[in-house]
Symmetry: C2
Subunit: 374 residues, 2 copies
């Protein structure tokens, strides 16, 4: 166990924590911007850091294809390669193999797939995934698992979870323990409570630095996801961080924090930055809408990002209409800032024993559903 | 005359100068990055300023189509709209009407054209161009002229130049003089020395704050251009800035500075930043080339841009191969930095009476033609 996690405070199921790694400390609850191919799309890493982000997620699948783990290792690891000196978490590659690559074949040994870039064949196993993430110098390595498709029958979910647990054991055995680096197990079991419990017990038996809740946000919807989150986090050890993979929208995150989750990642803020969708306290807004054409106001009052500090909605609208790169740069920055401010707000609220009031106000504002509520 | 220009020093035909505007001073010789539609593509304005750029060029044609001059005026002018508080020069719109728009019809009164964006019809006259540039709040307004096509017969060049001179007079009459703002005339006459002289005499008679050399860099090649620049700049007033429009490559600029030109603009550094072309002291290099794949070194030793300070060639190569936005952001920044450093080098060399030695070394390095000369 080589990552230290402190729980500073508890409110209901929610925890305020600090996760210590070789490259720095992460205040939890935390949101990790996604830096798929060694870059948070359209942002300089110093800009990402300026939003308050303390950890990035890198995608093992993308990085193993381009530029390759050996090259990243040769270049001094992912931190140095991409000029990000804070912590990095890498996923195992398994999820993207399922969602992006072609011609997959899954066996007990591992998964064979063809690269979506050039069709080249790869064979990924738990051991291989550990080796790649080691070469990337990832602070938080994720076990290779199978993300069970949704919907799945009980038997499918059970078989898939059991194999993931066998892979978790192999991942643990292959992982090279170092001070300031850690390995997270991933709970599976789909929407079946007894399978989630069985998975949690198995992971606890193997022992990890942190525990992810996998197989959610794959199409089941928020209601179904929250049902699982009502019981799943508390099945996992109290003294370790809990990470809900690939989640999510701001209201997903607030709901999950209330249910005891500590860490999140999602492409939503960056992807939305490339499709003119802005996150605001009153919900999302499409900046291409003609109502913004002559609007002097900043996108969001009180936001500290450069877009809101220095530009009008009219200017952003203009950039979007002209498909200017600066539109993507500014809006991505704003969206990441929004997510980080939300996490900071949550952490402050826990600290000040005002979490429920914070959440109530958050949901009331989101329900207004318009950037300029009446 | 509402722009003050100081010639601080002369070396041969070359001048070291300062041009004072309401929004700040421009050290000449100067290169103006192009901010076509109210943004230097893929750069934050503070990043542009950090390279040493003291003035930007905005394109009247693009801005009159989107978002429209009235809107920019309503938003407080182009400086405020795009968050650039230093000087701005706008072209007249004439050149882009010829190169980008559809269905043009040129008469003595003006030019009718169809927008390349939505096919909407516009009628641009010298008076209209002055009005638009006034609304944009441009510090340096350019007269509307016809950029004579190349090649042209003597008679074509003569007729075109004469009409441009009549338009120059109309531009002057329509221009609203204000302190810290100025109007530049544009010399035409193609490659014919007597026509260039006639044009210069006519412009001098009308009287402007500065004088551009127009109708070059339109396909005639560097040799032909330098032949014109051997005589054209000295036909223009000694005490006013001379601006070579749309030029150019670094070796064009050094040659033109030696021939007495003070100001330049070109899309080359920004456009190249979007096509993986990097400017270096040893010429251009395509960063997609496989030789950069495992190269630890920065693109250019001694360059102060973030790309060269914080990243390897291997990383930039990787970003380019993945078509990441950050590749465009970093390379554009580097290219603009290269151009500004070149201008600074030229200014320092004039100051220190080492211009010829500077130019000799510059051309010797460029002749090596490889980023890693033997």
């Amino acid at each position: 166990m080589s990552l230290k996690f402190e729980v500073l405070k508890k409110t209901g199921k929610t925890r305020l924590g600090k996760l210590h790694t070789k490259h720095g400390t992460i205040d939890t609850p935390a949101f990790m911007p996604v830096g798929t191919a060694g870059t948070v799309k359209a942002m300089m890493p110093e800009s990402v850091a300026s939003t308050g982000a303390q950890i990035l997620l890198g995608n093992t699948y993308h990085l193993m294809l381009r530029p390759g783990a050996d090259l990243v290792e040769k270049m001094g690891g992912l931190h140095k390669f991409m000029n990000w000196d804070k912590p990095i978490l890498t996923d195992s590659g398994g999820f993207q193999v399922m969602s992006l690559s072609g011609l997959r074949k899954l066996t007990e040994e591992g998964v064979t797939f063809k690269s979506h870039v050039d069709g080249k064949k790869f064979f990924l196993t738990p051991e291989k995934s550990m080796e790649i993430q080691h070469k990337l110098d990832s602070n938080i390595t994720m076990c290779l698992d199978e993300c069970t498709p949704y919907p799945a029958t009980y038997t499918q979910a059970q078989d898939s979870m059991k194999m993931s647990m066998r892979w978790a054991k192999r991942s643990k055995e292959a992982f090279v323990d170092r001070e300031g680096y850690g390995l997270f197990g991933i709970q599976q079991g789909n929407v079946f409570e007894d399978l989630r419990q069985e998975s949690a017990d198995k992971l606890r038996e193997i022992g990890f630095d942190g525990y992810a809740i996998g197989g959610l946000a794959v199409g089941e919807g928020q209601e179904e996801m929250f049902k699982v989150l009502d019981y799943a986090p508390s099945m996992l050890p109290e003294d370790k961080p809990r990470y809900l993979m690939g989640v999510g929208r701001p209201d997903d995150i607030v709901g999950a924090v209330l249910r005891g989750v500590d860490m999140f990642d999602c492409v939503m803020p960056t992807r939305s930055g490339r499709t003119a969708q802005a996150f605001t306290k009153y919900g999302t807004v499409n900046i291409r809408n003609a109502r913004h054409r002559e609007d002097h106001r900043p996108l969001a009052e009180g936001c500290s990002c450069p877009l809101c500090q220095n530009y009008s909605r009219a200017y952003l609208h203009h950039l979007q209409k002209c498909n200017e790169v600066l539109a993507i740069m500014l809006l991505t920055w704003h969206n990441i800032q929004y997510y980080q401010d939300l996490m900071k707000g949550l952490r402050n609220a826990i600290q000040e024993d005002k979490l429920q009031a914070f959440a109530d106000e958050f949901y009331a504002n989101q329900a207004k559903g318009d950037i300029d509520p009446l």
